[in-house]
């Protein structure tokens, strides 16, 4: 069997690794290629940077493909956080279709930021759904899913790592059952679908973090590592942005631990307060 993996960020490498261990340990290398996003300009210097999946594949001598037209014919595709819409002709390239590993309990939280949405909304459980991909975003029929608890300390980073690590094993057990047709696919209930968007910097804006401390703290955990949360404060009648780098809840009050003022270095909240006693949130 020939398998192609589609993915981009570091947190899906657990899935790639599990596929590699299962399907490439014998003489027959069944994981034949990895499709990932082409190097992107990143950061202040706009340096062309390769994805983590790209580096991983190079290390393990698996061909890396950026271009949909160059994907070799194969039996099964596995997608985890690839980051771009996969066109229909690519799906048709696979005899058994493409399985999409999506970190939410579909049809809830379709789209690009499901883990962040679950934390920001204060959900206590979420999960991962494996669907058979069709040409609409996160729309295909459900093959299987599992639930996972959201801990009160979970950030987007910790939760998504856990979700994908758990899915790695889940997927390895699921694939043989899927291939031999033992699993009946369940269409999603489109009426119940909710959608999440690609995050932007503005999504981390909170006008007054202490107004709804519980909500602010959830948003803080959801927006890690990027974009983080930030607000605007007035210092001597000048409006400045303030990033909240660390904070926690104490008796239903939001306590800042570390902040960074526009153009300044990160400092502890204590230091900030003594330096700018006359600050005020708008």
């Amino acid at each position: 069997m020939k398998i192609v993996f589609f993915g981009t960020p570091d947190y899906v490498i657990s899935i790639l690794e599990a596929l590699y261990k299962t399907y490439n340990n014998g003489p027959e290398k069944q994981l034949i290629a990895v499709v990932t996003q082409a190097p992107q300009k990143v950061g202040r210097e706009q340096k062309l940077t390769r994805s983590e999946v790209d580096h991983w594949a190079y290390k393990h001598k698996i061909p890396v493909i950026f271009d949909f037209d160059k994907i070799p014919a194969a039996d099964l595709g596995i997608v985890a956080a690839y980051g771009k819409i996969i066109p229909k002709f690519v799906i048709l390239n696979f005899k058994f279709g493409i399985l999409n590993v999506h970190p939410s309990l579909l049809p809830k939280y379709r789209g690009a930021s499901p883990v962040q949405a679950a934390i920001a909304n204060g959900d206590t459980t979420t999960g991962v759904t494996v669907i058979k991909m069709d040409e609409l975003v996160d729309h295909g029929p459900i093959i299987s899913s599992f639930k996972n608890e959201i801990l009160p300390t979970d950030t987007n980073e910790t939760l998504r790592i856990r979700l994908f690590e758990t899915s790695a094993k889940f997927l390895i057990d699921l694939i043989p059952n899927y291939l031999n047709g033992k699993i009946k696919l369940k269409p999603q209930d489109d009426q119940k679908a909710t959608f999440t968007k690609t995050l932007k910097k503005e999504d981390g804006f909170v006008a007054d973090p202490s107004e709804d401390p519980v909500r602010s703290e959830r948003l803080f955990r959801a927006m890690q590592p990027w974009p983080g949360i930030w607000s605007e404060i007035a210092i001597s009648s000048k409006k400045l942005r303030l990033k909240i780098l660390k904070c926690h809840l104490e008796e239903n009050k939001l306590v800042f631990d570390e902040v960074q003022l526009e153009g300044k270095n990160p400092v502890s909240w204590k230091q900030f307060e003594s330096a700018y006693p006359d600050y005020s949130f708008n």
Binding site: P39, T49, R50, D54, H55, Y58, K59, H60
Partner: protein, 177 residues
């Protein structure tokens, strides 16, 4: 991203390179770029590229010869068989190993080097390996290790009083160093 291969006159080719301590993203990016740079060389084609040739003085090089591609980090020659390849008759270059360098393209010279060696090195996934190399591969490896020590093949030419040839596309022309 294809990087610029620096020219033989550049002083940074004369520096001794430092060991790699951690294969991080920076090193991975460098290796990927060097790989692209090496396979993009068509006139002349290259069989190896050392990090100092792209202005990074670290102990790392790539070889790409007859379909075999290797990334070699912190190499250490642990055994060398001092059996030099027999030189053929003067004037016939057919059986000599003519050595060239991407930092001095189109110049070649017959250099005698041990044909068998055992190398300990780290591969791109960070694993330490011990492997034997012979023939042309052994030649390439020694040439690249020279780069890591700031030595160029023209130094070896002078050392061995070997001739240096310029390849002009269809003819070989002997030149003075």
């Amino acid at each position: 991203m294809i990087r610029k291969i620096i020219d033989v006159k550049n002083p940074s080719l004369r520096q001794k390179s430092k060991k790699v301590h951690l294969i991080d993203k920076k090193i991975l990016d460098l290796v990927r770029d060097m790989h692209e740079t090496l396979i993009a060389q068509k006139d002349p084609e290259g069989v190896g590229l050392a990090a100092p040739q792209v202005s990074k003085n670290i102990r790392l090089f790539l070889i790409s010869f007859e379909g075999e591609e290797k990334v070699i980090i912190n190499p250490e020659i642990i055994k060398i068989v001092k059996e030099y390849k027999a030189q053929t008759k003067k004037g016939s270059k057919k059986n000599d190993i003519l050595e060239g360098c991407l930092s001095l393209p189109h110049y070649y010279g017959p250099i005698k080097r041990p044909t068998n060696l055992t190398l300990r090195y780290m591969d791109i996934s960070g694993q330490t390996k011990t492997e034997g190399f012979k023939g042309f591969l052994s030649h390439i490896i020694q040439h690249e290790i020279d780069h890591l020590n700031g030595v160029l093949f023209i130094d070896r030419i002078l050392e061995q009083k070997a001739p240096l040839y310029k390849f002009t596309g269809d003819d070989w022309e002997e030149v003075q160093l």
